[in-house]
């Protein structure tokens, strides 16, 4: 069975439309982030959050009116399965940083609820975070992302060449921005789990890009007379079945996580869903386009002095691993000797 039999789509023709679409989403996301802010979870913002399980069903309004006197800016929402009567209460302040004052707010919440006669209840979870913790996490999270991007750039530059590394990293940054934009649109909180998902998206998106680049590298050896644009287009088409299938299967697993994984993992699963979709899109439309911007799109004939070991479309003559060896020097000359730029859409 084939999803795409002899696919021959001109993906690079659409790269300007893709650039427009991407920028539109990213700018809209930035506008939303700037005007409405990014909702931050308690780990980042600090504060007190408790999950309370009531014996009898209560409405959000009842809980809110019980707390309104003491807590102005509280967030109250039902948590998890509705049959369990669980309510999540989040209050911005965390009490003072010192001593036992940290749990003052929590105690005040339970006292207010007891006074409101809402029946018996159990505190199922409490999380109290002082504001200083968030700052440290933000710095660490940013560094982890930046360093992992740098690591990927170096690895791809080492295994392939610089333009490919730049393509992959730009595509990944694109995915991070689009994911953040969607988190802002749907008002998902930036939590530790979401940061973990974002870093996973970094890995996933690169993964996808590498598969296409790997094929471009292979094809460059066999299609030396063709323009880079053509080679890239052919490569994307050849790997299209795999790209779509993998994205679909990964989506299946993260959608299962989104639907059944429970309240705590919902933000994580949402981030992954957005990340997988944009990661696939960027591998096809962004990463390769960046390579052509970087290198120009002319013929790659300068790569000629490599042994002709590979043919396009799986027509490889020697499948032994020895045949894979002279891969890297192959593209070297094209970088120095920039071929003339052809029309934008070839």
């Amino acid at each position: 069975m084939h999803i795409f039999k002899n696919a021959d789509y001109n993906f690079l023709r659409w790269r300007w439309h893709a650039v427009g679409l991407s920028w539109a989403v990213i700018i809209a996301g930035l506008v939303v982030m700037y005007t409405k802010g990014i909702p931050r979870s308690i780990e980042f913002a600090g504060g007190t959050s408790t999950v309370i399980q009531f014996e009898k069903p209560v409405t959000i309004e009842q809980v809110r009116s019980a707390l309104d006197k003491s807590f102005k800016e509280s967030v109250i929402q039902s948590f998890g399965n509705t049959s369990q009567n669980q309510v999540l209460i989040r209050v911005p302040q965390s009490g003072a940083e010192t001593g036992d004052a940290l749990s003052q707010t929590k105690n005040a919440i339970t006292t207010s609820l007891q006074q409101a006669n809402l029946g018996k209840f159990d505190v199922v979870r409490t999380q109290i975070v002082s504001p200083t913790v968030g700052r440290e996490l933000t710095t660490k999270g940013t560094w982890a992302t930046v360093l992992s991007l740098a690591g990927i750039l170096l690895y791809i530059a080492f295994r392939y060449q610089m333009s490919f590394g730049v393509g992959a990293v730009v595509a990944t940054i694109h995915d991070l921005l689009v994911t953040l934009a969607f988190l802002a649109f749907f008002r998902y909180e930036l939590s530790l789990n979401v940061i973990a998902a974002i870093l996973t998206v970094t890995g996933y998106s690169t993964n996808d890009t590498i598969v296409i680049f790997d094929r471009v590298r292979e094809n460059l050896r066999g299609m030396r007379r063709d323009g880079l644009n053509h080679v890239i287009n052919v490569s994307i088409n050849q790997t299209l079945g795999r790209t779509v299938l993998t994205a679909g299967l990964t989506l299946l697993s993260v959608i299962a996580l989104f639907l059944f994984g429970g309240e705590v993992l919902r933000g994580f699963a949402f981030t992954m869903i957005v990340g997988v979709i944009t990661g696939t899109y960027s591998s096809v439309f962004v990463a390769a386009a960046i390579v052509t911007f970087w290198r120009g799109s002319g013929p790659t004939k300068a790569a000629a002095h490599a042994p002709a070991t590979a043919l396009p479309a799986g027509g490889q003559q020697q499948p032994s691993r020895a045949a894979q060896q002279p891969t890297r020097p192959v593209q070297q000359p094209t970088r120095k000797q920039k071929p003339q730029r052809k029309a934008k859409a070839s």
């Binding site: 069975m1 590498i210 990964t250 993992l265 994580f268 490889q316 499948p319």
Partner: protein, 533 residues
Amino acid sequence: MTNLRWKLITVIAVTVIFAAVGVYPIVAARYGITQPTWLTDKMIKLGLDLKGGVHLVLRVQTDDALRIESEGEMERLRQTLQTAGVNVTGLSLVDPTAFKVEGIKPDQDGAFRNAANEVSTNFERDSGVNGTYTFTMKPNVQVSLREEAVTQARQTIERRVNELGVAEPSIAQQGQNNDQILVQLPGVTDVNRAKEIIRSTGLLELKIVEQGPSASKDTLMVNGQVPDGMEIVPGTGGTPGDNGGTLYYLVRKAAAVTGRDLRSARPSLDENNRPAVSFTLSSEGAAKFGKVTGENIGRDLAIILDGKVQSAPRIDGRITSDGRISGSFTQEEVQNLSLILRSGSLPATLTYLEEQTIGPSLGADSIRDGVLASLVGLLLIIAAMLFYYRASGVNAVVALVLNLIILLGLMAYAGAVMTLPGIAGFVLTMGIGVDSNVLIFERIKEELDAQRGVRAAINSSFSRVFLTLLDTHIAALISAAFLFNFGTGPIRGFALTLTIGLISNLFTATFVSKTLFELVLSRHHRQVATLSI
């Protein structure tokens, strides 16, 4: 043929070993089958978010340790100056790392310098105008003192938690300045007791009372000042029933003995049958204590805990090794106090940065949701692979299931902790892991389309795609490594799951999957014409 047989044996052996370590204990525990302890020891442990418990993050106020060091040095200098007969108008702490001496007369400057030479080399001396000198702690000493304070605090907390009898606690240093201590107590639900015990400084000091007790500080002062080498310490309110205000004691600054001289502490009863803590001093402490009590028979001895006088009994005779702290304690307080005294005092105060309590029911819900999501994800992927790749799909499914078994087994072997994000990593491993099979199978299809034989198509696809897989896996491992470095607790669990999953996937998707293809091909002695893919 023999080559294939060895490959098969390897695959089966790997399956059996990892299933025994990773899967069997879980299944056995689920159905209450007894199993040897060497297996249960290795069973995957549940993280705090799944098991329920208390998670605390504390910051060590390392300034405290510096202040104590500076104060001690300042007091030693005061003593030296007194014996040398050098008069100064003031000796005071500037900040936790520095103190200054004021008002040295020019004709005593030489004598002062001589005396000050005995100040430890940990301090830098600077002279100012009008006979003023400032002593500042050297930066490298500050750094090592801070590090020492955090390490000591961590060790003290470890001892206290062990005394509490918590199973599998986790205590670690973290934070940008490495001055935070993370404490995880699985299964503990009494947060307040845990917090109280961890945070109490537990500094015990026995000091001779010069004057007091008195209801006001003023009556203890001489000319409105606390006499040199003395200090005023508040009491806890005296005997029960006496509801008067706080009582103050004027005591000698130098302690006769401190908590460091303790050998043991245990709950006991005092002469009125009220809960008290009895302690025994080490031989060195006993010698010191015997000397001081022998010289001060008839005076009061203040028993000071964390800066508060608990009681001030009269010294009736020379006391050496044993003593008792009585006060208005409840039975539980006595239990906690002896535990704290046994585990030693903290070198600095601690403040709480984070507190998290997870009830066991929430953890159970999370496990149920996580397992459900994993199963649904697994079934969806299996269905999709079988639908799309037909018979070859079976190959991919076997590789996928084996990947998960190896993942569980390696996690158990590494003593990894399963967290909720870890479960997410599990689900994700299925999605990303199956990608390797897709990559290979799509390549085989291409090769078959190019009119190559089945055997050649399979061989060349595996060897060609292996390099691609290596690249994609290494790139993914790079981001997983930074994720592990970034996160604490649950996130690390996720990063670890992802990393192990990636590595075992490389094995199952290439070696196992290829072996399965070879097995199928070996059944046909003639050239195979078609492949169900």
